[in-house]
Symmetry: C2
């Protein structure tokens, strides 16, 4: 074990797109776990789009970060000092930690990682918060029915790639929007999507949708917002459901974004549009984790992680989310 | 009975705001009812904002009118010739007729009018389609809970005025937007709204709402769209429900209207936004009619009709809906 611990601190609120100036790497003493706590050597750190919201000085669903705070995020790592009888040194766990080499986690708030089910970084993706978000957002808000056409934006991301596969398991036609041919190939060739639209290669999303979703859209799982979402709304079917999970196109906006009004489209379709947050389903996390693990073990759901090497590159990994660098879940490998 | 029948025809599709050129009054023979039909002398004719949609050459929830069609609408009138054993000459009925002095209605599709419960024009308002729309939209889509703050736009209209009163019966705090002091006084002094905002007298709807709805908005019943709706969305509470019933601010738009994007606001609030159409509740119309009639008879729900005199003024009565001329339900008195 090292004597010192490197940690990323939040040192400047961004205006618009965040950059390297928002982050500062500091070296400190390795923290000591109290009773009921675990010292964890971080192997993988999660960076997620929702963290952009925590950089704002405004109350929202996630507690805002204060300037001077250490950055927080999901981690997978090895217990190196346990002050809780449920865990031993050497156990692999996942939980909410910090952007650091070592973290102290409350033993009540970690979950075990079983490498026999999936490699550890998958516990930050398909078997972690993004997988649960996909599960509840699609099934509870989207309410897919076999035969429905399900459209997913951000389809090659950590959430979208799971949404599309669960929709396929539900007997739906699945169409994904993603930002490169490598991504759209992954969706159609590996994940079984019926069609995928590379939004970088066309401006006419409505025409692309008319081809990919000729029977219109019954469920739209939105991770993105912006012009893709504008186009999908014009194709909603009667009684369509829209699950608003993310709006990454707008997270860096400094003023209220404008665009086509959508409410007039809801009357004729009687569509339902609903925002969702996975934390609301906390009492049912066990259900999601069990189902997702079963699907992952059986190979019915595939997963992929984009790995950036080294804690020093964590800010770049985070910033890359806004330019679509990742395929599947973006993680940072902090240690082997 | 007269020998001739005057009827309004739809003779020109409007661009933007409709005007008198869209309508033509023609004189024809009085139609003859077939078996199972009733000849009805129209006493009151309903004009409704949704009719603007029927003037477009586009499929929507209501069948579009073709140029050259006679205009259709709800009527209340007296049976003057019955070819159905269920109705006698002299009976008062309501149903879907035409903008005319006489109309032939299918006896299967009319309902009796009981002047002991309410004056005949109320059967086009609180006891007709607008009342049922308010009932199902508020209760089924809005899902009000006692203590909720319910905001209604177009609050002094046929639908909005009923929505607010049902919300009061459900133990809610009710705030209405309306376009004159006469209207806002009616809402607060006669209908029991807790607050009413005259949107003609302020541009700062958010500030007005902060005062009128200090605990935020749990249910928003939207008849209007536009800047009022933009403001209400910024005040939605956690798990708020938005019932999108009408968007009269946009019915005359010729291009897709733009405005602040609302989906980013839905994530933090997990709000649900849903379009509604009363026709979807057809199997439950009996329930609504019975409850509404009970509330009207007991005086728990008050109603008001704005009456324009004379069939020749029906187009003006319709056009006045878009400038907010009406308080309560707008009807045209065709005959005594």
């Amino acid at each position: 074990m090292k004597e010192t611990n490197r940690s990323w601190y939040f040192v400047e609120r961004p205006t618009g797109e965040p950059d390297a100036d928002c982050f500062e790497l500091r070296e400190e003493a390795v923290p000591e776990p109290a009773d009921g706590e675990l010292l964890v050597r971080v192997e993988y750190l999660s960076v997620d789009p929702y963290m952009r919201g925590r950089m704002r000085d405004a109350e929202s669903y996630a507690e805002p970060w204060d300037v001077g705070d250490v950055l927080k995020g999901g981690v997978v790592g090895e217990v190196v000092e346990s002050n809780d009888e449920r865990y031993d040194d050497g156990d692999l766990v996942t939980g909410e930690g910090t952007w650091a080499e070592y973290g102290v986690l409350d033993a009540d708030e970690v979950a075990p990682v079983d490498p026999a089910i999936a490699d550890p970084p998958a516990y930050l993706g398909v078997l972690g918060m993004p997988g649960r978000t996909a599960y509840f957002g699609l099934l509870d808000v989207g309410e897919p029915i076999p035969g429905d056409t399900v459209v997913v934006s951000g389809a090659a991301g950590a959430v979208g790639s799971v949404v599309g596969q669960i929709a396929k398991l539900n007997g739906c036609r699945v169409v994904g929007f993603a930002g490169s041919n490598e991504k759209t190939r992954w969706l159609t060739d590996d994940l079984g999507f019926d069609a995928a639209i590379n939004y970088q290669e066309t401006d006419d999303y409505e025409a692309a949708l008319a081809e990919a979703a000729p029977d219109g859209v019954d469920v739209y799982y939105d991770n993105v917002g912006g012009p893709i979402t504008d186009a999908v709304f014009t194709k909603l079917n009667l009684d369509a459901r829209v699950a608003v999970c993310g709006q990454i196109a707008h997270y860096n906006d400094e003023s209220v974004p404008t665009g086509p009004r959508k409410l007039p489209l809801l009357i004729a379709t009687r569509a339902k549009v609903e925002g969702l947050l996975v934390a609301d389903y906390a009492t049912r996390f066990g259900e999601a984790t069990e189902r997702l693990a079963t699907w992952v073990e059986s190979g019915e759901i595939e997963h992929r992680e984009s790995v950036v090497e080294g804690l020093e590159n964590a800010p770049d990994a985070f910033l890359g989310l806004f330019s679509g660098d990742n395929i599947g879940k973006q993680v940072v490998r902090v240690a082997e």
